[in-house]
Amino acid sequence: MTEIAISGVSKSFSLGKGEIQALADIEITFPSGSFTALIGPSGCGKSTLLRLIADVFPPTTGSIRVGDHGPDAARLSHEIGFVFQDPTLLPWRNVVENVRLPAEVAKIAPRRDPAALTTLVGLAGFEEARPSQLSGGMQQRVAIARALALDPKVLLMDEPFGALDEITRQRMNMELLRIWKESGATAVLVTHSISEAVFMADTVVVLSANPGRVSEVISVDLPRPRRLDLMRDARFNSYENKVREALFGDDMKVPA
C-alpha cells in the first residue's frame, strides 16, 4: 500500500536576490494504486511537485509521506520510478543496459527482467540498439521500462510524451495504462492535454499558477480498462469540459 499524502506543502526557490514561490498550500492525497493526472498552465509547479515527491529537493514548508515514510526513505529504498520529459538515456549504453541501470546503481538484482521489460514496452528486437538509433517515442519507452526496472511503488511521469505527435502519443498512453494496471503502482502523470488527463486518470488535479495552487480536484468516474472509443462518450466530454472550466474559469466567456 503506497499512498502519497501531501499536506500544507509550499515550495520557494531563491532567484538572485528575490524569491519565487512555485507552490503554495498544496493538499493532495494520491490513493494507493491510483492514477492521477496533474494539469495546469506552464510554470504552475507541476514538475516541482513531482520533484518534491521524488525527494529531488525538500519542501519549504509542510510534509510529504510516501507510503509509511518520507520521500527520502522511499527514494533510498528505490521505491520511486521517474520518467522525465526528455528520455535522459545514457547514449553509451544500449537499450537493455539502460533499463538495467537502476538495478546496477542499487546493487541489487533487477526486480523485473530488463529484457522482459523491453518487450513489455514494445521494443523486442531492439535490446542491443543504442539510443541514438531510436526514435523519440522509442527512447521514451526505454525511459519507462527503466523507471519500472525496480518495480517501483510510485511511478512519476513528467510530460513523458510531450514531444510526440498525437497518434504516437495516444498509442503510448494505451500501453502505459496497461503497464500501470499490471504493476499496481501509484501513478502521477503531468500533462498539458485535457483529453489525455481525463482518458488516463482516476483523478485530475487542476493547478493554477503564481503561485501554484490546487484549483480543483475532479474524480473521473469512467470504467477501466479504458478504450479509445470512450473519447466519443458524452460522459468523457463532460469531464473534459469540467477540466476546461477549472483551467480557464471566467475566461471561457471572454471573446477572442
Partner: protein, 257 residues
C-alpha cells in the same frame, strides 16, 4: 571504420600529397625553386645517413612533449575539479588559463631559461604550458556536459558520488576530453621545439638549429617533415583511440515519432 572506408578517407589527401611532392620534384629540376627549398628526393637521400641522429633527437623531443603534456593534463584535471567544486571558482580559473594562453611562448621561454635554466625541466615546462589551456577548457566543459534531468535521474536512483562519477560524469566528458587532447598534442610538440631553440643539445629543435648553422638544407627539411609527422601522428593516434572509445554518436541525434 571498415578497411575500405579507411582507404576511402585516406586516399584523397594521400593523392594530393603525392601530386604535390611530384610537382616539387619537377619544379626543383627545372630550377624554379630557391636554394633553401630542396627537392623531396634530396631530403629522402639524407635519411640513411641521418637516421640515428634523427631518432636520437626525435626521442628527446617526444619525451619532453609527452611529459609536459601529461603534467598539463594532470594540472588541467586538478584545476577543473577545483573550478567546478567551488562556487564562483570557474571564472577566475578559466581567466588564468586564458592569460597563460595569451602570453607568447617565444617571449616567455627566455625568462624561463633564467628561472629554471637549460635542460629537460625547461622543455617539459614549456610543453606543458603550451598545451595547458585547451586541456583545461576541455576538462571543464566535459565535467559540465551532463544535463540537469540526467543528474536528477541519478539522484532519484540514489546513486552515490562514485557511481555518478563513473557511470555519468566521466563518460559524458569523454567527447570533450578527446577533442581537447587532439588539439593539445601538437601544441605540446610545438612548445618543446620552441624551448629547444633556447639552446638544447638534444631534440629536434636542436637538430634544426645545427642544420641551419651548417646550411644543410635537406636536413632542415627532414627535421621539419619529422615534426609535422609526429604532430599528425599524435593527433591521429588520439583520434583513433577516440573512435574506439567514444562510439555512441552525438546525443540527441534521433528524430521523434
Amino acid at each position: 571504420m571498415t578497411p575500405a572506408g579507411t582507404l576511402r578517407s585516406i586516399a584523397p589527401p594521400a593523392a594530393v600529397m603525392v601530386a604535390l611532392l611530384a610537382l616539387m620534384e619537377i619544379a626543383k629540376a627545372a630550377g624554379w625553386l630557391p636554394i633553401t627549398v630542396p627537392a623531396p628526393s634530396q631530403v629522402v637521400a639524407v635519411i640513411p645517413a641521418q637516421w640515428d641522429n634523427l631518432v636520437y633527437h626525435a626521442g628527446g623531443t617526444l619525451r619532453s612533449a609527452l611529459l609536459g603534456y601529461f603534467a598539463a593534463a594532470c594540472a588541467a584535471l586538478a584545476l577543473a575539479s577545483l573550478a567546478l567544486s567551488r562556487e564562483g571558482a570557474e571564472r577566475p580559473i578559466l581567466s588564468l588559463g586564458v592569460l597563460i594562453d595569451c602570453v607568447p611562448l617565444i617571449a616567455l621561454a627566455p625568462i624561463f631559461v633564467i628561472w629554471i635554466g637549460q635542460g629537460s625541466a625547461l622543455y617539459i615546462t614549456i610543453a606543458g604550458i603550451s598545451s595547458f589551456f585547451p586541456l583545461l577548457l576541455g576538462t571543464v566543459q566535459g565535467f559540465k556536459a551532463t544535463d540537469r534531468s540526467t543528474r536528477e535521474l541519478f539522484h532519484v536512483m540514489a546513486a552515490n558520488r562514485w557511481q555518478r562519477l563513473r557511470l555519468l560524469a566521466v563518460p559524458s566528458s569523454l567527447p570533450y576530453l578527446f577533442a581537447a587532447m587532439k588539439v593539445a598534442a601538437p601544441l605540446a610538440l610545438l612548445g618543446t621545439l620552441i624551448a629547444e631553440w633556447m639552446g638544447a643539445e638534444r631534440g629536434l629543435g636542436a637538430m634544426i638549429l645545427y642544420a641551419l648553422f651548417s646550411f644543410n638544407v635537406p636536413v632542415v627539411w627532414l627535421t621539419i617533415v619529422t615534426i609535422c609527422g609526429l604532430s599528425a601522428g599524435a593527433y591521429g593516434l588520439i583520434a583513433l583511440l577516440e573512435a574506439r572509445i567514444v562510439n555512441w554518436g552525438p546525443k540527441g541525434v534521433s528524430g521523434h515519432g
